[in-house]
């Protein structure tokens, strides 16, 4: 019994990182209606950036995360400006956004490959102990606690911004109908840029957490796929859905790894996603982002 609770704890900790990835991804999806594959690129570059500043300036954990968050936000804004600003102005088809974003992701990843080669790095250890002993049978890793804490703080702040501020109202208005929002006096360019900034901040947090949990290598970008699967499970384009989807995926992966082994786990996760889509295509939260004529 304790063993399963232990698995559950690990699953939720892993899932909270997936949720953060999924949130940043969903935020962009909800306003521009396309899957932002460059999210993974921003994640990788931020993770390496955090690693460099932590090593060069001997920063503690919290200042490092804060600086990296700012960096991720700015990077995401720059990427937005290069890749999507013009497309948005000429109202390009979704296909162009797809190509642009997947290309940006590859570009960012390759910048890392060229500067750092494909070697593995690991973050300096910020903490003196590796895990907490809850009861004789239950342990929880310090990284996991930090993952949970940071993810929860990030999600709470995001929800506050989205539902309590003027910016949040503009973002939600934009996600419903960009033309109408524009007519109501929302500065669309500004709000889009800010949304990309928030999404970049979330990507930076996710990047640092993944870099601490795993190792630092350019293929960290592929973790964005977990975020995407999470947002599919939760219902594409639905912000609270992304949250549930991430946790569900985390728990699922930990249990799958335990029962079928880590080598077959991606195959079973894929099967689960396919069956889930057949049974409930609208996701957990049950709201489709509708296609409008």
């Amino acid at each position: 019994m304790m063993y399963y609770i232990q698995l559950l704890i690990n699953g939720i900790a892993l899932g909270s990182v997936y949720s953060i990835i999924a949130l940043g991804f969903t935020l962009i999806f909800s306003i521009l209606k396309f899957s932002n594959f460059s999210h993974g690129g921003v994640m990788v570059v931020s993770a390496y950036f955090g690693f460099i500043i932590a090593r060069q300036f001997n920063l503690g954990f919290i200042p490092m995360v804060l600086v990296t968050m700012a960096f991720g936000g700015i990077l995401s804004c720059v990427a937005q400006f290069i890749g999507f600003e013009r497309l948005r102005k000429i109202k390009g088809s979704t296909m162009l956004f797809f190509v642009s974003s997947s290309n940006l992701g590859v570009l960012l990843q390759n910048i890392i490959v060229i500067t750092f080669a494909s070697t593995y790095y690991s973050y300096p250890s910020f903490f003196s102990r590796a895990f907490f002993q809850l009861t004789p049978d239950l342990t929880i890793g310090v990284t996991d606690v930090i993952m949970l804490a940071l993810s929860s703080i990030g999600i709470i702040i995001l929800m506050l911004v989205l539902y309590k501020t003027r910016l949040g109202i503009s973002i939600r208005a934009l996600s419903m109908d960009s033309e109408a929002a524009k007519l109501m006096g929302v500065n669309v360019s500004m709000v889009t840029a800010l949304t990309f900034f928030i999404s970049g901040v979330l990507a930076a947090v996710a990047g640092v957490l993944c870099g601490m949990k795993y190792l630092l290598y350019p293929q960290l970008k592929d973790l964005v796929m977990k975020g995407m699967t999470a947002s599919i499970l939760g219902g594409l384009g639905n912000i609270s859905g992304a949250l549930y989807g991430g946790i569900l995926l985390g728990i699922l992966e930990i249990f799958m790894t335990n029962f079928v082994g880590s080598s077959l786990q991606p195959a079973f996760t894929f099967l689960f996603a396919i069956i889930f889509l057949i049974v409930r295509p609208q996701g957990i939260s049950g709201k489709f982002s509708k296609e409008k004529v």
């Binding site: 296909m95 190509v99 796929m225 099967l271 889509l277 295509p281 296609e291």
Partner: protein, 294 residues
């Protein structure tokens, strides 16, 4: 097989794969990030049949195509009735699942070591023949009833559906066709390199093809073919630094997205050249006649 022959065959393989990506992206507007996993399936079907059984060469190709189509059908069922974004995400996950399965059942597939010593049954003429057949099929597909329905679906799913087109079925047809073609290119790859392993069919390869189709112009197959040729030459010259090549390619795509979003070839195809030429000639002669009358 000489080095030059291998290089040319690789260009042909890339062309078949890019053409299959063109049927998805260019004709139907489906965006598959895991298309390379169908190449993996084709390569493994051909490789396993060639090393473990004595099925004739031609039949292994056919089985590879059938394998690719079957998998495309299974993957396509849940996602083709949903938004296009699901296709990109689910095919990506499918790619990972395939790699996981191939790595796990190592007694059949050789695991991460892959399959060695596949006979090099292919030569330039067979490659050129396959490529010609594929180009012929897709050009005709583009002009057929199915192809035109595909283009209608690409431009606007809702209006296509209101015209009585069965959108799900059309998308499914294109997806299965492309899955078969990509598997064919995979089988060719297995016979050319004589060695395959599961880890060389990641998303990076699919994104590469997407970029090539896009640079050439989403609506033009000639564009895809020409750009494949150019980039294959580029990647041969920059072979030691593949990251640099990817970097150059991404920068070119960014420029094109911002300044020529229709791609270099726009809507034009090579086979339109004689028609356009004749049109121009007749206009010129008409002008000349007018001038004579004056």
């Amino acid at each position: 097989m000489t080095y030059n022959e291998t290089v040319i065959l690789n260009v042909m393989i890339n062309m078949v794969a890019v053409i299959s990506m063109f049927t998805l992206m260019g004709l139907t507007g489906i965006f598959s990030m895991g298309q390379a996993s169908f190449m993996c399936i084709g390569a493994y079907v051909a490789g396993l049949l060639a090393t473990k059984t004595d099925v004739p060469f031609l039949f292994t190709l056919i089985f590879a195509v059938i394998g690719g189509m079957l998998f495309a059908f299974v993957v396509g069922i849940p996602i083709m009735r949903l938004r296009r974004d699901y296709v990109a995400l689910i095919t990506l996950a499918f790619g990972e699942a395939i790699v996981a399965v191939l790595n796990t059942f190592s007694n059949v597939t050789g695991g991460a070591m892959g399959i060695n010593r596949i006979p090099r049954n292919i030569n330039l003429w067979i490659g050129a023949g396959i490529l010609a057949i594929v180009i012929y099929i897709i050009l005709n597909f583009k002009d057929s009833k199915f192809g035109r329905q595909c283009i209608a679906v690409k431009n606007d799913e809702i209006s296509a559906a209101s015209m009585g087109i069965n959108v799900t079925r059309i998308k499914m047809t294109a997806f299965i066709l492309a899955g078969g073609l990509t598997a064919l290119s995979g089988a060719m790859l297995a016979y050319t390199t004589s060695y395959i392993d599961p880890n060389s069919f990641g998303a990076a390869r699919s994104i590469d093809w997407i970029g090539i189709v896009f640079i050439g112009g989403i609506n033009s197959m000639s564009g895809s073919i020409v750009i494949t040729l150019i980039f294959s030459v580029l990647s041969e010259t920059l072979r030691t630094t593949s990251a640099l090549r990817t970097l150059i390619q991404s920068l070119i795509i960014l420029l094109i997205i911002n300044f020529v979003p229709n791609g270099l070839f726009g809507e034009h195809e090579f086979k339109d050249i004689p028609k356009a030429f004749r049109k121009r000639m007749s206009r010129l002669s008409a002008n000349a006649r007018k001038r004579e009358k004056k």
